[in-house]
Symmetry: C2
Subunit: 185 residues, 2 copies
């Protein structure tokens, strides 16, 4: 069954400081017309940063849309023309002050397929060394190092409820069990 | 450390057929001013529907923002004044034709905390009975029943890369291992 929706025309209908909304007219699989509205996003990375003594770097950050803080893995948007691995290294350093000697690619996931074209690339970073963080102006966050077994419990008891982080930790748990091969970079 | 960002004022700056964008001026933790833009979303549900013979219901759906199909668990938006469990039962029936005798609440996750207030409530549905599906007009999707072990492999090899589904399957795997208690409804 061909489920393809064909683009007929489209335009950007909103452009704010961060959010850009695209609206396209499409032909559905049966040929009937419909509209599709969605966010255009530059893509992002997320980093599972695991220390030699088995602790994971987490951040606590206030997320305004939900008016509360969340425990998250380090993450950030890809800058124009930036390679995703470079974004991962930059964001880890800026937000936590850590550098990693070893980088692995875990995979990509799509956080919001109903209304955003965002993709998130996931990296595993090991052999960490601590340094000075370099937060962007107006960026406020706490860095925590938590034993990985405790982090995995947090994915099940509600303490970690950010989907981006839950996906990364699903893959990290599988990697630990030897069920997920990841590519050394 | 108080990370709270205080709302000073706000307005809806875009309202499309589906997407609504809110823009607020806020005071950052140090008192400096900033803008926050985000999508207002009514919330959603997702359903892990597990048959007596250990197969999970999946859907293949074309997702226009990414211009491709995805394998997903059944899910849908909460209607105004609708209880999330009612949404879960309605979406499962409409999209797959299945009803479930037993419902459990697995937890909630936030798919897009950077720029959307969406929350997704996850349900486990068992004791399934098949019937006629009742797709909305303009809705096209395929329903698959896949052995759960195979589904779990699909979360690791890229065949399932929708974050909403990955989160639900992370929790379902933990439930199977006896690590996640869920509430019978």
């Amino acid at each position: 069954m061909d489920l393809t929706e064909k683009k007929l025309a489209g335009e950007q209908v909103f452009s704010g400081g961060f959010i850009k909304v695209q609206r396209d007219s499409v032909a559905l699989p049966d040929g009937s017309p419909a509209w599709r509205e969605y966010i255009r996003h530059p893509g992002a990375v997320a980093v599972l940063a695991l220390s030699d003594d088995g602790k994971l770097l987490l951040e606590r950050q206030f997320r305004y849309p939900l008016a509360r803080t969340f425990l998250e893995i380090p993450a950030g948007k890809i800058d124009p023309q930036e390679a995703p691995l470079a974004t991962a290294k930059r964001e880890l350093l800026e937000e936590t002050g850590y550098r990693a000697a070893n980088w692995f690619y875990l995979g990509k996931a799509y956080p919001c397929i109903g209304y955003s074209d965002e993709v998130i690339h996931y990296y595993l970073a090991t052999a960490l060394t601590a340094g000075e963080r370099q937060l962007d102006e107006g960026e406020f966050l706490e860095v925590l190092t938590v034993p990985l077994a405790e982090v995995m419990t947090m994915t099940l008891d509600g303490r970690i409820c950010d989907s981006k982080s839950l996906v990364g930790l699903h893959w990290l748990a599988a990697w630990q069990r030897g069920e997920l091969r990841c590519e050394a970079l």
